[in-house]
Assembly symmetry: D3
Homo-oligomer: 239 residues x 6
Amino acid sequence: MRTETKETLKTITTATITMQLLKRGVKNTYMRGVRALNPMQVGERMVGVAYTVRFIPMREDLFDLALLGSPENLARRAIEECPAGGVMVIDARGAADCGTYGDILATRLKIRGVEGVVTDGGVRDAVEIGVIGLPSFAAGPAAPASPTEHVPVGLNEPVACGGVAIYPGDIIVGDSDGVVVIPPALADEVARDGAEQDGIENFIQKLVASGRPVIGTYPPDDGIRKEYADWVAAGKPDL
Amino acid sequence: MRTETKETLKTITTATITMQLLKRGVKNTYMRGVRALNPMQVGERMVGVAYTVRFIPMREDLFDLALLGSPENLARRAIEECPAGGVMVIDARGAADCGTYGDILATRLKIRGVEGVVTDGGVRDAVEIGVIGLPSFAAGPAAPASPTEHVPVGLNEPVACGGVAIYPGDIIVGDSDGVVVIPPALADEVARDGAEQDGIENFIQKLVASGRPVIGTYPPDDGIRKEYADWVAAGKPDL
Amino acid sequence: MRTETKETLKTITTATITMQLLKRGVKNTYMRGVRALNPMQVGERMVGVAYTVRFIPMREDLFDLALLGSPENLARRAIEECPAGGVMVIDARGAADCGTYGDILATRLKIRGVEGVVTDGGVRDAVEIGVIGLPSFAAGPAAPASPTEHVPVGLNEPVACGGVAIYPGDIIVGDSDGVVVIPPALADEVARDGAEQDGIENFIQKLVASGRPVIGTYPPDDGIRKEYADWVAAGKPDL
Amino acid sequence: MRTETKETLKTITTATITMQLLKRGVKNTYMRGVRALNPMQVGERMVGVAYTVRFIPMREDLFDLALLGSPENLARRAIEECPAGGVMVIDARGAADCGTYGDILATRLKIRGVEGVVTDGGVRDAVEIGVIGLPSFAAGPAAPASPTEHVPVGLNEPVACGGVAIYPGDIIVGDSDGVVVIPPALADEVARDGAEQDGIENFIQKLVASGRPVIGTYPPDDGIRKEYADWVAAGKPDL
Amino acid sequence: MRTETKETLKTITTATITMQLLKRGVKNTYMRGVRALNPMQVGERMVGVAYTVRFIPMREDLFDLALLGSPENLARRAIEECPAGGVMVIDARGAADCGTYGDILATRLKIRGVEGVVTDGGVRDAVEIGVIGLPSFAAGPAAPASPTEHVPVGLNEPVACGGVAIYPGDIIVGDSDGVVVIPPALADEVARDGAEQDGIENFIQKLVASGRPVIGTYPPDDGIRKEYADWVAAGKPDL
Amino acid sequence: MRTETKETLKTITTATITMQLLKRGVKNTYMRGVRALNPMQVGERMVGVAYTVRFIPMREDLFDLALLGSPENLARRAIEECPAGGVMVIDARGAADCGTYGDILATRLKIRGVEGVVTDGGVRDAVEIGVIGLPSFAAGPAAPASPTEHVPVGLNEPVACGGVAIYPGDIIVGDSDGVVVIPPALADEVARDGAEQDGIENFIQKLVASGRPVIGTYPPDDGIRKEYADWVAAGKPDL
């Protein structure tokens, strides 16, 4: 992802991104049952490149608690391998009642420059992670440690998260409306056209706030687009 | 709805309203899976008259993105037709993972004097709508635009929302405990008796806070009602 | 529960407690679908001894609203019988859309020294209960009074709550990650070893925050345990 | 239950019974998620008096497989205590993926004259139980033995099964449309009026099969009731 | 729908129809949670034109059992108005535990030449309807009469059924794999190309049964299409 | 798997197998939401070695219908690579409303000596597959072709199916009660002890059918085991 694209994506909403993708025929991009773990403000946003971890159910004949600390433990390797600028995307099969990571791992990811974490499972130490400041999206808080229910079996494979396909290298964006995936080949144009869409929608928002009806104004037709261009050309005066 | 009834309903909780309706044999009045989109304070409340919008699933042979901006688009017409003092109630069949409206439409509704919106689907720009200040109740935030999943097919018909029947003209009340419907023919008496119930319950709350047990105090029997009447007659002295 | 155990449990997270129980072979201890009704801060925690109430669906031939205020009403008796230091655990079969108690009952429990309430059903007057300050964990707010859907039929029996078995006398702990049960026979050792675990994890958290990788650090091996012991012996100097 | 009532109930459908109960204001009588485990024919029906068993989740600190065979095991006691003419109703909290009984216990119940079993959980050896011939209603087949998930904690208490309240002594009727409960005080009149309803509906069925429209025919008005009475008086001639 | 199209559709599977629609970009055509109420054989199939009925939840202040028999009752009118050759499609919001029709109404529909019924709710007298021989697709059997839960409010409107949009006049096809909708404008070509697809797939089935691998055979490439054409030209000799 | 073990496993029920595994501490072995697609008789059973296929959601930017017939299509490769004696286990994330295979692929698997298929998704041509005679376990029939919802991304990896971990090489057994997995290292002993358990349970079944109570008989104590040994030694005379 180009730096400029990343910077632009930080300024546009996931709502706008899904619309840009829908216009390009890509519909299944919004993760279901996945929310910001701690409240996010208007304009706060996570953007990064997907690094995936896949969990499957734990089986008692194959698991020993001693494995948790082993260097071979894939969950530990993932924490050290997810690159700076990455977003760790965890396929937890929607198992909301069991954690997939907690505050110590969140601290390490933060230190290593990882942008955030997305899981369709639960997260331990949810409020503590808010203090640490690692953007986190999940099915919700959940106290139990991951081996209570599942174990990691694959790193950086194509996975499902929140009912959406995530491939390593996909662009992940999360804000207060949730998390979406952008196919990397579309990232530049989605960023460019999304910024354009957000620009004109902010203008429309001002028009509507000043009394314009939505019919004939939103979504914008050619007339509104002209009005917008004129307004931009005029230096965006107060409306 | 009479102005006085509306003012009274703004002061009584949805919990009290469901009890008043239950006493009158009307049980299925509380919407399931529908919550305040942004936190509400004690005493904050939305009251208005139902104007309904019905969505059904989108079918690819019948939909074109260009329709979104058409004046015939029912979702647009609804925004302009929902009357001041109304509450827009959207039947989204519980589809929580797709938006039914966003910040521009919310702004227009606010400007037009609409009291709020209720949907059993999702809402785009959820945090932004909190800033706009339009009371909104939904299954939660959801980034995708409505045509990702559904399209409006009917305005101001009887609909289902959150598992409850809503007819145009019904009275809708929402607060931090959720959303209830009041049959219009019952609105005056529910408001009157609900205010009475809230008055005596506030008195009981004071009694209990000062050490009274609940048995013999709550729900109130004739003795407590007498005590309450005396206390009111005495000018509601400190307890 | 010994006072010292209770004090210790107030300082350790539910995440740590589930790990201590998992190490002892007790897996099904975390309630599913049950959350703090009002936001909790880091370190805020409810600890108490389980007193149970069991609801089953209401049947119209057996119920009369007049029973609500009767001294024989089990829900009323429960409010007066749940002991100081207790946590009232309500088996509501996961019925999230109907209340099991409200602000007046919460006030009485608070006055009587009850530590808090856990229900896998709904709660009326949810925000008001936050003001009252009774720790409450539930499936969420719900306006309807309990007889809309269910009635109490048993006090202080073994019950299911959030998919977990709760026996009278069990130890209940709730914080921002949710609610767990501790078998009373294990409470002392879980408190002791949990405090030890939290101590070393706080130390590891500092190490990781200062740049240590998680592999070789967390979970702690003998080397880290030695480092921790030395650090404690040195009076916990800044890292 | 009087013998005559039982014989009559064996001839009327659960659909008719729910209508008779609805007319008497008793609505929540049909178990949800509970089906005949093996196909039933038109007219095949189970009728008996409820004897209840309540399961809660298993907790590892309290369970030992050796308990399964103990005489104190409530599941074993239930098999010997459920009376001839009884229907064993098992509250399994809707846990469909774990058995609550299997073919040996079914054989014993059959031998002892028990009329059948209803559970909102799973049943082991489902096809074998069809061969044994004990009417069984459940969420479906499930191979795992009950302690995989839950243990019995109460016999002949009020319970919930399939979302319906069942009290010991209630009348249980099951056929190919599912299972309903009849309050014992209403059994005689429901049987009597249900038989009457089924009689007239069978007559209407003949009328409709011969070409009558449903409007004006069904549900029957006074005219149809007169026609029916005449037809009965005439010895029910072919239509 | 042309007679020839209807005859052709009777010979092709719903699996083939969904593939033909997918190739045309129409994806959401298969009803979820809707199954044949009674077992269907290979080749047995229902084909007809959609006539819709919409139910919403019942509200106690608006319903009286006496309305059930009224000529104004929409459920009764629907039974008389659904045309011969039609398929009655009932939007029951997925309420599986309550009936939407039963054996008398099924008899009348059968007599009137209606092709069958589809509902995403329950059906009373399920086994009896199998004897009557009206093709019926539903969420399953359910004993309770419809007003226990819902009432009809609209006839022949656009509705949702099993998560799919159904407009009056749509073509409905149901078999042992479930129910699909065909947009009427596409019916002729779907029938024609579906028959072609089924023809070649039957040929491939024979090839595979005689030992051919699927790679290079299925789905058919140009070579297989040529082989098929030759085989047809040769009079479909045994393989 | 040794031939003798396979032969033995064909004679013991999945209910018995789960009990043998439970005794060895392996609890999560029974697939949830997965049933025999066509009715199975008493004693009919599928036994084989797991070969896995993993699907994730389809993404429109990555899929083209033309890929369906490509030799690189993993679903096609899987059909040719799953070995004779294998059971194809498909991780479909529980997506019941979309097919994962159909009759042509089933025919090829049957021809190639594959023992059967298990998927937690849907199956096309469900009744036809019953005629073909390939044992199949699934969430149910579903007409839509797999790319409507998902695409295969991995062969013979560890996967989740019906909430259970399946590793390539695991032993899979399915009968009318559902599907279980046996860790290969335990297969011999589970077969041996399961056969012993079934032998004694068949004896107990005869005792109970002749009037013995279950307490003191089932589960068997040492006395019953002695009785059973004597009965076997005596040549299993009629009871």
